[in-house]
């Protein structure tokens, strides 16, 4: 599962939806792999407005990546900043969580990631 994807995921438990603590989910015992993906600057620039920057900063820190700036770059800045493009591409598009867990900060439920696939099916008592 790509780090980008984690930025769009929250806890699947209905009662967690109103809780700010359910996003982002926190990686636990995460094994990371890096894929070789061709850089697509336009895609990154266009996706930028969809990304929750604060959540991404949290995730980057939790995964051991260098701390991201407090404010997201503007699309123009990102477009012009080769290093920032490379860094974000590596973090968002190339880095995958292959094994581990994603933990909800509100209810504590742990979602398993195995062979790169996160499973959000809930046990019946949480549906």
């Amino acid at each position: 599962m790509k780090v980008l994807t984690l930025n769009f995921l929250t806890c699947a438990v209905k009662s967690c939806r109103t809780s700010a603590d359910s996003f982002p989910l926190h990686p636990k015992d995460a094994e990371l792999v890096s894929d070789d993906v061709e850089l697509n600057p336009q895609l990154l620039v266009n996706l930028l407005p969809r990304i929750d920057w604060n959540a991404l900063r949290t995730t980057a820190t939790e995964l051991g990546f260098p701390t991201l700036p407090e404010q997201p770059p503007t699309p123009e800045e990102l477009q012009a900043d080769e290093k920032m493009l490379q860094d974000l591409h590596k973090l968002l598009m190339e880095t995958q969580i292959s094994e581990g867990k994603l933990v909800c900060g509100a209810c504590g439920h742990e979602y398993a990631v195995r062979e790169g696939i996160a499973n959000f099916l809930l046990p019946s008592h949480l549906v």
Partner: protein, 346 residues
């Protein structure tokens, strides 16, 4: 909310209609009781047997018949602006991933086996990911409990999925979930379902007919080996395979190959809506010699009558942007209605 009109029918699948009538009654009680689905929801149990269990069991065979995108879906995807974030809920083997490589797709399915296949198909298991793998990601999730954050996406597609939910309440809830995950008011959701009105196909279903059916899938012998390999993978404990041996193979053969387009333009691949592949399925039923050994799985379908999908969108708090009919299927493009502030939806 009116229960779906179940008209009496001579079709062999009337057992599905009976079952669904009971489920509808059960879910009415359930809703008055608390509004949220319960752990032992009979509708959920029914779908576990007649939808989820079946797809787990037939995943490789199913996937092998599914690779041609529906035209209406493909053009919806191509109409999205570069850099848009899209969801594909109930993505099956992921055949819509990579159709438009300028958008990023997050795809989910209830079936772990199909997600594994989709992942291989998109090259996500290879380090040199091809186009689809570079612009998509996959996860296992239930369409009624989606893990996407509110308003996360620019658009969503849900192709041949909602007709597998066995009560109207659940079908509307599924649409509500999709709407919750896309932007408001601009985010668009494309929903594609099997139509009751299939006058030009030889399945024999049409206006006024039974809407709740069990539709057989014949697992061809040559796919069973592949299937077993799939099932030998680790973590597949509670596989429920090949129960439900069909009692009436004649009707099974006749009804085979539904959701696929029978359109002349579609080659023998079988398109995809809903399930069975026209090519594969028809072949299966045309070879009586193989039939005795081929297990038959019964998948539940609710066939949508004209106008019903639009009604469900409205009931889910959405508005209809566009709708139409394509090769035995109804489709709708929906958006969030003005009266559904974020946070107030389920």
């Amino acid at each position: 909310m009116a229960a779906s009109s179940a008209t009496p029918s001579a079709l062999p699948s009337s057992s599905a209609a009976d079952a669904v009538a009971k489920l509808a009654a059960a879910s009415v009680t359930e809703v008055t009781a608390g509004g949220s689905s319960q752990a032992d929801d009979p509708a959920e149990a029914y779908e576990r047997e007649h939808v989820h269990g079946v797809y787990e069991a037939i995943a490789p065979h199913f996937s092998a018949t599914r690779y041609k995108p529906w035209p209406a879906v493909a053009s919806f995807l191509h109409a999205q602006p570069p850099g848009a974030l899209g969801l594909d809920v109930g993505c099956g083997n992921g055949k819509y991933l990579g159709v438009n490589t300028d958008v990023f797709m997050l795809a989910s399915d209830r079936s772990p086996s199909l997600i594994r296949l989709a992942r291989e198909r998109c090259g996500l298991t290879r380090p040199d990911a091809p186009a689809a793998g570079a612009v998509s990601d996959l996860l296992v999730a239930d369409g009624l409990s989606l893990p996407f954050r509110e308003r996360a996406a620019d658009f969503a597609i849900c192709v041949a999925v909602i007709h597998h939910l066995s009560t109207r309440q659940r079908r509307q809830d599924a649409i509500r979930q999709l709407l919750r995950c896309v932007d408001a008011p601009r985010g668009k959701v494309l929903v594609y379902v099997w139509a009751l009105e299939q006058g030009t196909s030889r399945r024999g279903w049409d206006q006024g007919g039974e809407q709740d059916l069990l539709v057989p899938w014949v697992l061809k012998a040559q796919h069973q080996h592949q299937q077993q390999q799939q099932q030998q993978q680790p973590k597949k404990k509670k596989e429920k395979k090949s129960r439900q041996r069909q009692q009436d193979t004649t009707s099974a053969a006749k009804d085979q190959a539904p959701d696929e387009p029978a359109a002349p333009a579609a080659p023998a691949d079988g398109g995809d809506v809903g399930g069975q592949g026209e090519g594969e399925g028809e072949k299966a039923s045309a070879e009586p010699s193989g039939q005795a050994a081929d297990p038959v799985f019964q998948r539940y379908y609710h066939l949508y009558r004209q106008g019903e999908l639009e009604e469900d969108v409205l009931a889910a708090g959405g508005v209809v942007v566009e709708s139409g009919y394509e090769r035995d299927n109804w489709w709708v493009v929906a958006a969030n209605g003005p009266a559904t502030p974020p946070g107030q939806q389920q």
